[in-house]
Symmetry: C2
Subunit: 401 residues, 2 copies
């Protein structure tokens, strides 16, 4: 699908672009007879969704768990990543015997529309021009992503999800699922997220976008056509964002003012401090696995998310009459999506007498805690899922597998 | 002093460069017989300090108040800025009848070595090459800046400062003054600062430096020779930094998710949100008044600041036997220099039985509060200065002027 004019060199960047052409994933194609209607008013005439599944769908298709990935995540939740060769991004959470137990549940994760790991996005070929979309790709919203996922589930014959779960932007999708497709969501676990993106968070995203766009190799979004890569700008964007994923305490604990491979400061602009070296590494490795335009689109989708706005500003209206069971999770040191944001969601759910539990987990790991080894998170998710499974009447005979 | 090959165009950028050549300030020149010894081991063979004064020095030279400016500040504390045409950066604090009352005190503010408003810095001509220093300028530390200021006071015949005061990086200098020249500091007011730069703060600075250095117009620091300006990179750096100067609450109060000059989101990458527009403005205007290399040097000076490190890690040793009176100020919503950092300083001062008062001011304005209209800050400073002046025996007959 991607417009790769040269035979891709199979360095990491080439591997990523190859994943757009022929992803190591299942792919569902939607033709021109099934366009994806978009919030911007337009539509995608045809599109593909790359997705991964784990476990087996049961006979009555009642054990499906949809995992929604975060801003720069993808569908490779619990398998070796085809580009980086690293473990899946949520292997601590998803797998046999894990909190989202693939011996019991059929887990699906979809690369979001606008992404860069096989689903249609700005690096895909625009059928109208025969070139990569670039900025001609329509701006995608969180509801658009969810609408696309709903079409995929239609194809798979899954009427109702047993659970939809995700953190950060994935958590926004969880909330959108519950709000727009309540009947199709038996239970929902929004983690470290919010019902709308805050002013400060929009500001950080804008810095990242400006960093990308300031890179002359971005070429007004046409870098694929021109054989360039805005790697420096994207690396700066990632560095700025990465700080927001951690906490001051976590950085202090991990790095403090420790020096990197030296005993004394160098009185120069090298990476004297470990935290500088770490941050540079985060920036430079990111550009190998992610596309700059996709980064623009994904950040914009988060900025635009505001679940209450389309409902007269009343968040509770988003959940009126909901039968979904909710488990809302936040982390004490998350300053990107502070507990206050989750509390706002919980209050809206309480206002409509929803079935909701709320777990605030004490940790110094910041926003990233949802991706890390957090036993309290695992306990909360597995406990909630077990209880919900009993209510749903899912066969629990194998609970002790 | 600056290597301006073309006759500067008198747009704002030209005005800034003209201030390096012939600042609208007093200038003190130090010749080769008085080199500035630097922490890096080298020295500046000759250098200039541009400075402003307000009020009059009394007969026994006992009423001098040194104001230390922050990262991107300069000596124009309380007069119209010669480049921007805006009010001085601390006119709310310094002036006749203001908390630092220029009817009573002789106020001095020095553009730091490494700066770009008339003092010797990376845009100055390197006498060894005849070209602008660029990255050949030695890395400057906060103690280096203070050492230079001490030389200036020697020239002015001021043996002891009545007070040294500053916020942020200026506050670091206040602490350094008190630690290294305790006998010359009768009283000290460090505001919104720390005895060392935190890991998270180093990380944010590194993002800014990488943004500057990623700009191809930076030309490895030789942009003055090549007639370019890394404006885009510097603007991105400023945008990222600017977020850290505010608080989440302040951004929410000022902008929330309000749209800029439109009723609906545009489904694009324009500045839909007011906070985006504001941030872009902050970035673009900054590049007109500040030099990119100076930005690298100033951020590095803050990163390197660690008052305890040279004293075996014991901060209290920095203040042993001090006779200076301290008034330490922090702001509740300052997440760049949280109250905890000031508390660490206060504890070290208490450990040596110093005369110290500590004021934590409740505000949602974040780090920038020290520059803004904060009546509680004004009260704290004027109250502390009045009491210190009485102790010092400064003539208070004109207290009701």
């Amino acid at each position: 699908m991607a417009d790769v004019k040269e035979k891709p060199k199979m360095n990491t960047n080439g591997k990523r672009r190859a994943q757009m052409l022929a992803p190591d994933s299942l792919v569902m194609e939607f033709g021109e007879d099934e366009p994806l209607k978009l919030d911007c008013g337009g539509s995608l005439a045809s599109y593909s969704l790359a997705y991964q599944t784990y476990g087996e769908l049961n006979a009555d298709k009642s054990n499906a768990v949809l995992v929604c990935h975060a801003l720069t995540g993808d569908q490779h939740v619990a398998n070796t990543h085809p580009v980086t060769g690293k473990a899946g991004w949520w292997e601590t959470m998803v797998g046999p015997g894990k909190p989202i137990d693939t011996r019991r549940f059929f887990v699906i994760c979809v690369n979001h529309v606008g992404g860069c790991m096989g689903s249609t996005g700005p690096t895909s070929v625009n059928p109208e021009t025969g070139r990569a979309y670039g900025l001609d790709f329509p701006v995608i919203t969180v509801p658009d992503m969810v609408r696309a996922e709903a079409h995929l589930l239609d194809r798979l014959g899954i009427e109702q999800l047993f659970c939809v779960v995700g953190g950060s932007m994935g958590g926004m999708q969880v909330l959108e699922w519950a709000a727009s497709y309540g009947d199709r969501v038996f239970s929902a676990i929004p983690i470290a997220t919010a019902a709308r993106h805050s002013s400060q968070n929009i500001a950080f995203h804008e810095v990242g976008r400006q960093a990308v766009m300031a890179d002359p190799d971005w070429r007004a979004g046409r870098y694929l056509d021109e054989g360039t890569q805005p790697s420096k700008g994207l690396a700066v964007a990632r560095m700025a964002a990465h700080i927001t994923y951690l906490s001051d305490d976590a950085l202090h604990r991990k790095f403090g003012r420790n020096l990197q491979d030296r005993d004394h400061i160098s009185f120069g602009f090298d990476a004297d401090f470990q935290v500088e070296s770490y941050l540079r590494h985060q920036g430079f490795t990111f550009v190998d696995r992610f596309d700059a335009n996709s980064y623009l689109y994904m950040t914009r989708a988060m900025d635009y998310f505001d679940l209450a706005a389309d409902r007269g500003g009343d968040l509770a209206k988003a959940f009126e009459g909901t039968q979904t069971r909710f488990c809302c999770v936040s982390f004490t040191s998350d300053w990107l999506f502070p507990t206050e944001e989750t509390r706002t969601v919980v209050q809206a759910l309480n206002a409509v007498a929803a079935n909701v539990s709320f777990v605030e987990i004490e940790t110094d790991k910041g926003h990233d805690a949802f991706l890390l080894d957090e036993p309290e998170l695992f306990d909360a998710v597995s406990g909630f899922l077990s209880a919900a499974a009993r209510t749903r009447g899912l066969d629990m005979a194998d609970a002790d597998l």
